[in-house]
Subunit: 341 residues, 2 copies
Amino acid sequence: MAEVIIAVDAMGGDNGPQAVVSGAVAALADTDISKILLVGRESDIRPILDVLNFDNSRIEIVNAEEVIGMEEVPTVAIKSKKDSSIVVGLRLVKEGRAAAFVSAGSTGAVLAGATTIVGRIKGIARPALGVVFPNTRGYTFLVDAGANVDAKPEYLLQFAQMGSVYMEAVLGIENPKVGLINVGAEREKGNALTKEAYDLLDASDLNFTGNVEGREIPLGAVDVAVCDAFVGNIILKYSEGFAKGILSMLKEELMADGVSKFGALLSKKAYGRLRKRFDYTEVGGAPFVGLNGLVVKAHGSSNSVAIMNAVKQCSKFIKSDVVGKIRLKINAIESKEGNEK
Amino acid sequence: MAEVIIAVDAMGGDNGPQAVVSGAVAALADTDISKILLVGRESDIRPILDVLNFDNSRIEIVNAEEVIGMEEVPTVAIKSKKDSSIVVGLRLVKEGRAAAFVSAGSTGAVLAGATTIVGRIKGIARPALGVVFPNTRGYTFLVDAGANVDAKPEYLLQFAQMGSVYMEAVLGIENPKVGLINVGAEREKGNALTKEAYDLLDASDLNFTGNVEGREIPLGAVDVAVCDAFVGNIILKYSEGFAKGILSMLKEELMADGVSKFGALLSKKAYGRLRKRFDYTEVGGAPFVGLNGLVVKAHGSSNSVAIMNAVKQCSKFIKSDVVGKIRLKINAIESKEGNEK
């Protein structure tokens, strides 16, 4: 494999440059990433680097003076802040100077910037955010988890096509099972969006298994779960809160009587493993799919471990050539449709 | 309190008349319910009753020969099956012969029937399904959890008003905190529906605390969480699957090493209590709000304990006069708006 260079938004995320810079430096160990470009204010980044140990030739600062805040209107911010870490970082991908850009900053700004600067794959109506999350049997690719809160049926079809390619390319799942997130199993169930999307999915060459109800997703009924970003975001964040809530209720109950409390002490290792399975820092970043380049969103509240995992994950995405494979798939569909017309 | 008579759909639910009839009979113990009307095929109900012990004067069969299946189109089924358990049961409420109707049958059919037969409260655009579910600090009223998959902003405002009355009347929560389920905390976040609904909620006299993100709901951030039924249904069913999934992963991890396994044995009581907190059979039924009478939906897969709890819960709804209080609230809003015009 050629040199792998990853650009990282040093300014993004709730924990600021400290978490990002130390996470990025940590990502250099045990990886085939050749170099990391830290994009952001040199005056903020340098002091953090100064106290860390790393190979100087593998870290480079790319100065960007501006920062896009979480509360800014994405499209406006992208246009007006040309020297922001997000815009500069995305330009590195566009220009081929980096193979990927990782940011824990505003999802909306990264999406708006990526769509304008990196660009969509020809034929893709809207890029989407895909998140891989654990179910009882393995992993589900939830798409769209954060890009299009008002989606059209055609978008959902493309999300499914891209999700299917992702699960095959990155996780090696053959002919992934695709489900449409819906309020009932029957074809006629749902809202205006899902009713139309069902027909499109059913007519496609995907391994579409029909509607998937909320309760089946955590139990691993499908490999790719498709929805608009409103529903996807709610599911994603709800899971986070629910896992936290259930673990805190478990703790409460375990502490409520002496024997249970003693038992809990003995089962400490098991709880550690369970927590790990639900820890977003282990998951790493979420890729945008449908872009002409690799752009990865890390969780806003990423600590350095989460950043490290998100950066490391990029080398897996690059090796599996997920962007190239999505492009091929969409091209094939486009030309087939062209022939049929 | 006067005589309390509850009508129960003996034919509804995945577990058929057996679970419903035995659950209804069990509900007669420790309750102020005077009588239960079992609505359905007498030939199916009688043999089940024959082997149960109960006070004959407190159970009555109201014969209805037809059954509406889960796969039937609700509006069509309600019109064509006049002698179905759902239509006959709802008529008992309409005619004042029963104070409430409980069904574990098709949500769509119960809703369509209730809207036509029992009718909406004057001023209510759409009735909604409200579900009380546990959070780490108490309970959240999720509304709409199953009625309107394509909602309008005005509906969401009314759901919030009704949910607020519910939490105050039934659970005694003063000035309940109302949150709009959304993808971000900021006012401008969301899809077309939530953006408009935010303005309406913000201008209302409710204790509206703004948008509530998925992760905050299980942690008890609000007392009333408002959304359309698509989102509500996904949250509800997802929670069910997620709780099941996380408990099965916990079991896996506890069994994975000997010491943890031994600890788990000692903590058995704590696990029992945790399971109970997540057991839908404990929650009982979900009331439709906005109707001119009390109609309660029990979970489709209700066993006899769940039916018992759903029936028993009705006496609480009746005592708190939640229907009357919602009517008063909506009347007050209507006449205030009338005066302002």
